[in-house]
């Protein structure tokens, strides 16, 4: 059985023929589209390393069948920077040392982008920590991650205010 899956990945329309319906969105990104920025950690929805935005919302790509994502829009870590300019969340992770080994970082950053879009946490560190609890960091860079998310939230809300003015 062959399945054809159409996806918009980082703004580019992609058509993938699947020979096997067992392929997850994570494996499709990594193994078929060579987008290896999205990481495979636990592969069971427990660690958050595979976080991407699907139709603008953060999900665990290891628990999504690629076939079920047909017609949807995916944003991965590779699609975040605009030209040479880092996304404010990426820049904030660097300036606040929001990582050590870096393996969980693409998932952390995509999760933070999703959290900021959801707009529930605001500038409350406790709400940021709660909202980021689906992303584990075995190096324990949580303090820097929280500071980076709060910094990005300030940057983005200042930017939005400037745009509105």
């Amino acid at each position: 059985m062959s399945l054809s899956v159409s996806l918009t990945v980082n703004g580019v329309a992609r058509e993938v023929a699947l020979d096997d319906p067992r392929v997850t969105l994570l494996d499709l990104l990594r193994e078929r589209l060579d987008l290896t920025g999205t990481k495979k950690g636990c592969d069971r929805g427990q660690c958050g390393a595979c976080t991407v935005l699907l139709d603008g919302r953060r999900i665990n790509s290891c628990l999504a069948l690629a076939a079920s994502c047909d017609g949807r829009e995916v944003l991965t870590i590779e699609g975040l920077a605009q030209g040479g300019a880092l996304h404010p969340v990426q820049a904030a992770f660097i300036s606040h040392d929001g990582f050590q080994c870096g393996f969980c970082t693409p998932g952390q950053i995509m999760s933070a982008v999703g959290l900021l879009r959801e707009g529930q946490a605001g500038d409350d560190p406790e709400r940021v920590r709660e909202g980021m609890s689906g992303n584990l960091c075995r190096c324990g860079a949580y303090a820097g991650i929280t500071a980076a998310v709060l910094e990005a939230e300030r940057q983005l809300s200042t930017g939005e205010r400037a745009e509105a003015a």
């Binding site: 059985m1 592969d43 958050g48 976080t51 290891c62 628990l63 999504a64 069948l65 959801e118 406790e126």
Partner: protein
Amino acid sequence: MNRFDYVRPATIADAVAAASEPGTAYLAGGTNLLDLMKGGIARPNRVVDVTRLPGLDRIERLPDGGMRVGALVRNADLAHDPDFAQSFPAVAEALLSGASAQLRNAATVGGNLLQRTRCPYFYDPAAACNKREPGAGCDAQGGDTRLSAVLGWSESCIATNPSDFCVPLVALDATVEIAGKAGQREVPLEGFHRLPDGAPERESVLEPGELIVAVRLPADASSFSAHARYVKVRERTSYAFAVVSATAGLRIEAGAIVAARVALGGVAAKPWRARAAEVVLTGERPDHTLFRRAGEAALADARPRGENGFKIELARRVVARALALAATGTPPRLPALPASPFAPVPGVLHA
């Protein structure tokens, strides 16, 4: 993961027809099913993807004041729907205390009702489990029962239902709308999940091929909105299943409780409505002695097995805490740590 056929029907009738053969699984958010398939615990021959069925992603206010939530509404969307969260704040709090933000963005209402137990023996293909393989035995009995059920368990199975969402739903008399080959039917949520008895593999009253299409809350369920909470004790503050949880809803008039709702999670194979506790509370003035008595009534039939006796006393205290928080009043905004016993609440004494 075993190989399977993947189909994506366009109508409910086509979905039900596609799922009528044995060995079929419905796929919605996939957050539980794919995990089970990767572990070899669920081995469907056919996966029926219901995510494109039209009309199942709506949250509707009904003419009688009740609310109808489509089976494909995502957990996060429901928790953040302003009208829903204001009417049923304990349901919103329960949803936000479950899983992670990523999982809540994917997981659906229907899938939440059908999630499988987190009993470690169910997840271990090398262990005997009557739920996974009827007649195989239950290695949990006599094994590690620390997190196992204390209410409604049998010699065949001591697993718990892990849902947070279902706990306030069962307290508020929710109804499940089901589509099947013979048309639609409705079941009260309280009668939807089955206790294990001798057949723990049958977890709900769904017949093969039947599909949940919506969950409905009656109009009077929102009359508890001013005094409604969910409390969930976990082994870490966030992103963990309940050891024990409880919801409390009170209607207080002239200083007296005129109506009460209490239900527990993490204690049985189904969300556990505690009607005996509601009887204790009704007509009384809210205070800590009363809340303690309600907790004792809720656990009157509890039986420990092995190491889980602590859950009985813990559950009594979680009921009393949920009642104390509910009596204080629903906060205008949910705490940063939803349902956490560590969220500070001024004026509330520890149970």
